[in-house]
């Protein structure tokens, strides 16, 4: 039995024996010929057997869920945000479906934990006791005064929290009370709150950033200066997922009304990745570890976040859609990918892609590629043709056939935009072939300097 399949068959259980299993499962076997990747994670000294944490949200709001998550194999949790007393409404969620699939995007109008604080604290203690090898981070959003923060921090540390995540991101319900995104959107207020926290906290502090700003960097810098040990992003994005065409009321529906909800799930991943990159590239914010959040659903998503600078990832929507079992494939997929690429530990690849995102004016103008259609793979759907013909550069030729037309690229006309390749339903049917205009690198600034031709297509 090789390493991968061995891991697959390990079934976790709340009982004590599982802990041994876990250690053997995720560490590097010494004498084995296949060198298995070590996917254990160390975030600010908080260890977890893998880099997959559950984000602060309903999946982490009570002992019952968290134990099930740990049994399923999750590396850690960020406990549902604790703070002042709240009251939730019904309904609370809505979603955007796409292409016959449910929940491409998800939104909610829920508040922070609506359970009594003492119960949450008791349950945190119990979870840590049962699963001491998993990360237990507690998300906090205290009332906007120093004393409230200090009291909450003390109670949570006593309960066994291993770290804190400051929720400066919740875009609804709490902002009206000067909390959540209202803090995260104002670098000065955020700085002040982090300073209060750092005075009291004896365990690592992560500050969670709101995406409801035009740049996450100012708040990020401000809280790093104030001493936060790490950053996490993103929280949800303010949104309206749609309007019901019968009631004419947007979703989610609450007695004939709705409010802006926080958007998350696969739809927000590209935005999250961009925001993550700006934090990973900034001189100051890049000094602290980052926990990546926003649309992570598979091991591939996780790897992408990590390549762009996240030390670990947090997941909410994917778990809410499919349950905790998705972590099995996340673990196996990540490990297999690392084996394939020869990475032994997470640190071997974290941040590797950060420097490849550059400024537009630094791009090489002499780089050129042209679409090529593999006629053996082509199924004659015509999608490349109509996309290029109607909306791009009329670079694809149609030769009529019954029932199948033949499509070929007009090399001279193709600008290499990728559109045809993106819409083609067949894997690797359209490839982009490199045809440099000239061998040397030349960027936009140099191009202008030399007075080279513009608007020439």
């Amino acid at each position: 039995m090789n390493g991968a399949s061995q891991r697959k068959f390990i079934r976790l259980n709340v009982a004590g024996i599982i802990l041994n299993n876990l250690q053997t499962a995720y560490s590097v076997p010494t004498e084995n010929k296949t060198i298995m990747a070590n996917i254990s994670s160390n975030f600010l000294g908080i260890k977890s057997p893998n880099p997959f944490w559950l984000a602060s949200a309903p999946p982490t709001d009570k002992k019952y869920n968290v134990l099930r998550a740990f049994e399923a194999g999750w590396g850690g949790v960020v406990w549902k945000t604790l703070g002042s007393q709240v009251k939730n409404v019904s309904s609370r969620y809505s979603a955007v479906d796409y292409g016959g699939q449910r929940v491409m995007g998800f939104n909610n109008i829920e508040l922070i934990s609506d359970r009594p604080l003492h119960i949450n604290l008791k349950e945190i203690t119990e979870c840590v006791k049962l699963f001491p090898d998993r990360a237990m981070i507690v998300s906090l959003m205290a009332d906007n005064d120093k004393k409230s923060w200090h009291e909450l921090i003390k109670k949570c540390e006593d309960a066994g929290a291993m770290g804190f995540e400051l929720n400066f991101g919740c875009p609804h319900g709490m902002t009206e009370r000067g909390m959540g995104a209202a803090v995260g959107q104002d670098p000065e207020i955020a700085c002040m709150v982090v300073e209060w926290v750092m005075e009291a906290a004896t365990i690592p502090v992560i500050t969670k950033l709101t995406p409801n700003v035009h740049s996450v960097v100012p708040t990020g810098r401000s809280v790093v200066k104030a001493g936060t040990n790490a950053l996490s992003l993103i929280n949800t994005i303010q949104s309206v997922t749609g309007v019901d065409l019968d009631t004419l009321v947007p979703n989610p529906y609450v007695a004939g009304k709705s409010v802006f909800g926080g958007y998350c799930g696969p739809a927000v991943k590209p935005i999250a990745l961009k925001m993550l990159t700006t934090i990973a590239q900034d001189e100051l914010t890049s000094k602290v570890p980052i926990s990546g959040i926003g649309g992570v659903s598979t091991w591939k998503d996780a790897v992408e976040f990590m390549l762009l600078g996240a030390s670990n990832v947090q997941v909410c929507t994917a778990a809410m859609k499919h349950g905790f079992r998705i972590v099995e494939d996340m673990i196996e997929g990540l490990s297999n990918w690392m084996d394939e690429k020869g990475y032994k530990t997470l640190d071997d690849f974290i941040g590797k892609s950060v420097s490849t995102i550059t400024h537009w004016e630094d791009l090489d103008i002499n780089y050129h590629h042209i679409a090529k259609i593999n006629q053996d793979k082509c199924i004659h759907c015509g999608l490349c043709y109509i996309a290029c013909e109607d909306t791009s550069h009329q670079s694809i030729n149609l030769a009529y056939g019954k029932p199948y037309n033949t499509y070929t690229v007009k090399d001279e006309e193709c600008v290499g935009c990728n559109l045809c390749k993106l819409v083609c339903p067949v894997d690797d049917c359209i490839t982009m072939e490199e045809h440099r205009v000239a061998p040397e690198y030349i960027n936009w600034i140099e191009w202008q300097k030399r007075g080279l031709p513009l608007n020439d297509h």
């Binding site: 016959g100 199924i379 759907c381 999608l383 109509i386």
Partner: protein
């Protein structure tokens, strides 16, 4: 051994003749399949539909929850879109050329999706077309089959007043009287005819037979134009000894009885031989089996490679437990007491290819004998030659000859469908009706 009706219980008949292509259970099921469609450009499926239904468009409209629009898209090209969705041999039409075949994946279930939208339209009686004000012109259509109905609908939309003369007491043509009972029900056929004619401006005169109750010259006098959509008639004679014995039946009449009179009334033998391998032969064989025949054997002169039916149809017969003997040509039917007892066949082999490239069967001189009590003839259908010749219409072995404008040799008389092509599919007849209507409109244009 005997030919006998009422072999099964009501439940058995119902189970045996249940819808062979069940519909989608619900909206989600339809949308999941519809979402798979790639929305091809200049789509191969559309090109392979004789009526050129904009398939990607109507499927996309299912995805966007615009089912009414979807039905409109279908009916615009094919007013019998509901019936076609149940009877089209899609494996050689639209679905046969769906691009997913090239990926070795199952094609989009186009017909099933077409059924989804059109069924909703019929259930809710959505009126998707408006008839223009009457332009004061009258056209007679002979035959209320797919060709005639399709022609009538297009004409009526343009404000022409249409009268259909139909020899039977029900409309739909072979849809009602010929197609296998497990594809469409009599009720559905009736509903479809009513739905098509609900646009108004179409009057159907049932039990009016051309050549008996009315003549072509009468129609020519009374109407501004005439369209002949009379289809083809009975099965071809075998011209072998014993054809007159009791127990030798014509496939078309056999199926007509099933469709017109109901399953229990139709007698069927214990051991049945079906002669031919076209769609009609398959339908006769499977339905004989489903009526309770113990053994059904199909005999065909050529090999499986030359079979005129599609593989899909042959599979239905095989799954029903019908047996097939290839390279067997009926030579004579033997009987006793006036009743069928045996079918004697010559063993054939394939000879040299003929002009069309098909290798024709040649007799090896050997024979074999099947013990049977019923022989169903399904070796092609013959046109209404007598009627057509009497009406002085230019024809080829009884098939009406038309020019590129669907016009016959008699001015003002147009024709299409099986009567012209000798027998194809419903969807071809619908297209022929559209073409005929277009030609008539041009002819009538001031």
């Amino acid at each position: 051994m005997a030919i006998q009706n009422n072999r099964l219980t009501k439940e058995q008949y119902e189970a045996n003749f249940a819808d062979i292509h069940p519909p989608f259970e619900n909206k989600t099921a339809a949308q999941v399949e519809a979402s798979r469609c790639l929305f091809c450009y200049d789509a191969p499926c559309t090109k392979s539909c004789p009526t050129h239904i904009d398939v990607p468009k109507f499927i996309k409209q299912i995805v966007t929850d615009n089912v009414k629009g979807s039905a409109h898209t279908i009916f615009t090209s094919n007013i019998m879109g509901a019936g076609c969705s149940k009877v089209c041999p899609v494996e050689k039409l639209c679905e046969g050329s769906c691009v997913f075949n090239l990926l070795d994946e199952p094609p989009i279930p186009i017909a099933k999706l077409q059924r989804y939208s059109t069924e909703k339209a019929m259930e809710n009686n959505w009126q998707l077309f408006e008839r223009k004000n009457s332009v004061g012109k009258k056209v007679a259509v002979v035959g209320a089959g797919p060709a005639g109905l399709s022609c009538a609908h297009v004409l009526s939309r343009e404000g022409i007043d249409v009268t259909i003369y139909e020899k039977e007491s029900k409309g739909g043509g072979l849809m009602t009287y010929g197609i296998a009972a497990y594809k469409v029900t009599p009720q559905f056929c009736e509903d479809e005819v009513n739905y098509i004619t609900s646009i108004g401006g179409i009057e159907i005169k049932y039990n009016h037979e051309l050549g008996k109750d009315i003549t072509l010259s009468q129609l020519k006098k009374e109407f501004d134009a005439v369209y002949l959509g009379i289809g083809v008639g009975v099965a071809r004679q075998l011209d072998i000894p014993g054809e007159k014995l009791e127990g030798v039946v014509d496939a078309i009449k056999f199926i007509y009885n099933i469709r017109a009179n109901g399953y229990p009334s139709v007698p069927v033998g214990d051991k049945v031989a079906v002669i031919g391998m076209g769609m009609t032969a398959i339908d006769a064989a499977t339905q004989a089996k489903r009526l309770g025949a113990k053994q059904v054997t199909m005999v065909y002169r050529r090999t499986e490679k030359e079979k005129p039916c599609t593989q899909h149809e042959l599979d239905i017969a095989m799954l029903d437990g019908c047996e097939v003997i290839w390279l067997a040509a009926p030579q004579k039917i033997k009987g006793s007491g006036g009743k069928v007892k045996q079918l004697v066949c010559s063993v054939m082999k394939l000879g040299d290819p003929d002009a069309s490239g098909r290798r024709s069967p040649v007799d090896t001189g050997e024979t074999f004998t099947l013990d049977v009590d019923m022989v169903i003839k399904a070796a092609g259908q013959v046109p209404f030659e007598k009627l057509i010749k009497k009406s002085r219409l230019d024809n080829k072995n009884g098939k009406i000859v038309i020019n590129e404008n669907c016009a016959t040799s008699i001015k003002g008389v147009f024709a299409g469908g099986d009567a012209v092509n000798g027998g194809k599919e419903v969807v071809d007849a619908v297209q022929a009706g559209k073409d005929g209507a277009k030609a008539i409109l041009k002819y009538l244009a001031p």
